[in-house]
Symmetry: C3
Amino acid sequence: VQASNIVTLLTDFGDADAYVAAVKGALLSASRIAHIVDITHEAPSHDIAAAAWLLRAAYRYFPAGTVHVAVVDPGVGGPRRPIAARAGDWYFVGPDNGVFTWPLRHESPVEAVLLEARRYMRPDISSTFHGRDIFAPVAAHLAAGVPLGRLGPRFDDPVLLDLPTPVIKDDVITGEVAHVDRFGNLITNIDAGRLDKWLADGDARIELCGESAPLAHTYSDAAAGALVALIDSSGMLEVAVREGSAAARLGAARGTPVRVTRAARG
Amino acid sequence: VQASNIVTLLTDFGDADAYVAAVKGALLSASRIAHIVDITHEAPSHDIAAAAWLLRAAYRYFPAGTVHVAVVDPGVGGPRRPIAARAGDWYFVGPDNGVFTWPLRHESPVEAVLLEARRYMRPDISSTFHGRDIFAPVAAHLAAGVPLGRLGPRFDDPVLLDLPTPVIKDDVITGEVAHVDRFGNLITNIDAGRLDKWLADGDARIELCGESAPLAHTYSDAAAGALVALIDSSGMLEVAVREGSAAARLGAARGTPVRVTRAARG
Amino acid sequence: VQASNIVTLLTDFGDADAYVAAVKGALLSASRIAHIVDITHEAPSHDIAAAAWLLRAAYRYFPAGTVHVAVVDPGVGGPRRPIAARAGDWYFVGPDNGVFTWPLRHESPVEAVLLEARRYMRPDISSTFHGRDIFAPVAAHLAAGVPLGRLGPRFDDPVLLDLPTPVIKDDVITGEVAHVDRFGNLITNIDAGRLDKWLADGDARIELCGESAPLAHTYSDAAAGALVALIDSSGMLEVAVREGSAAARLGAARGTPVRVTRAARG
């Protein structure tokens, strides 16, 4: 896939320090890429699964050839490998710690390389800040058209996270809350495609924290303050309260179990 | 007005989720606009009046032809209409819920259209994320030069908020705090132009929360820690504490009444 | 040094107001610079020393010719002077209050001017928002190639902060924590170059808050949860806890004393 000259950044560096700016300076020093877009820098510190989820929700909306850099990297300076990959229409650059699990598992083709070619990195590489010294310059060169294969040798075993997946048993799917967003919406790990197929023309009842919600089309289908389930904008089952916080109302958090029960349409 | 190839974004999506990035991906996928500028993504959730105020403080400082996208949209998926408008030298894209009240009321000419032309939107439109699926691609096309009239039919009754306005009675104006900024400065809904005309060559005393402040020229006219009133950078009467927080000192918030009394210069 | 058409912004305006957007609108209205990069807008309010530290950690990673704008400006509207400077390979624009202490002291050559040429500013200059009305348009013009000397007359006495510096006495250096980052890492004011030279081939023991830490190479050299000292990515001695917060563990903050003791290698 042809490079797009766009680089995105996803980190746990926060917006109050100068680390993100140092990464952007290193990007622009390596190549005058056209656009640098922040996914977020408020990923929970050292939480690779949370960062993988955030990347999942954004990467596919970017033009083909976009280079996505993710630096949630508790193992920096240790044995974890710096990598780049192509997965489907996009490129990914960062530590080999599972942060790219979603595209590596769900897109194709996949091709991954170990970052070894020093000429695409900063001359001095610190032991604590590979985002600035390795990933940023490599991403800038990739975005500018340097072929993936020039960055280092191919390898075939990138780290993939063992994420919790929903369990289907007869008329019940048991999943869990995978992410709580700013509005207190609870996005589950239950995929709409899977849910639709399993439901066929049955009705669904969604239960969590001792309450139940009907499956609706959009927020406006519910009364203000009412609990509602719907398919969220990234294709996952979501539980929400119209103009309110489902997380606060239910006391739910990442990991809270969610049950979907199907019944023949009455 | 000619398109500027600049798009700004104002939302209540927060900086910790991936929603803003999905919007930016959709923008760049529709057109390689030159600049995407964040106004803020920390508008209070579902608070249309607060978002309208934030937009007011920023839109006119951008080049003519800039497209301002505002997505504070509690009615997404319901009957509220997606719109675009030209008001004065700028374009506006978002839900028809009053978020564009300030430019629609204070700029001219105004021309508004309903967003109906599907070819300028993403092919799949979710029921919960029009920011990504409708507003972003439409804004990108508008910024790239697509004429407003191509986006859909004209209409003449965009929603305008019924915002509190100051009341003048003899020698007293009664207004209120419209916004509290990060520094704890209290920006009121009392307009400098109106205030000046009414004051003529009289003196003004500003009172709120049982304290009074003189009308000064800039922060430095006050002693550190002293309460001071001045005309803020967006043309509104502001009450501040030099190098301190007027909000904390007075216990004031949005809606707190503010009185201005005029007296012949002594 | 040739202009790079890149401008960075460092302010204490926060991300929730529209002030930063107004600055960016003013930048783009003055010149269509290629890249606007945020260093941070979450510098502590009115804290010039903290802003100077944040600028220190980022400015040198940007391409030569980048214009760095810093607006932490408690004295706006008062007698403090608006300035621009070249220091080494970069340009700096903002108030003359010490925020540029690091580059002005450590880079060369240095050339500073008072901002007097009105034609490079917005036509109306407010008394409370020089970031938008003076610094942004001046920075845009500088980034687009206007020579420094056109902005106003040279001057030779820019304000420099009197920052705490480490004291060496025999086998002990006493410094302090200069910055606490998002991860709770404690970055001290003890410079790696100085430390290395003084240590020669001795061993170092780092002590603060009644605990001591060995000097390691990277986070991964420590057990998870263990206290460790290392040279941070900006060249300063740092005290950290692997995958944890040293600030929380030790109760340390900016200003906490740090002692380094050297001993002959055993």
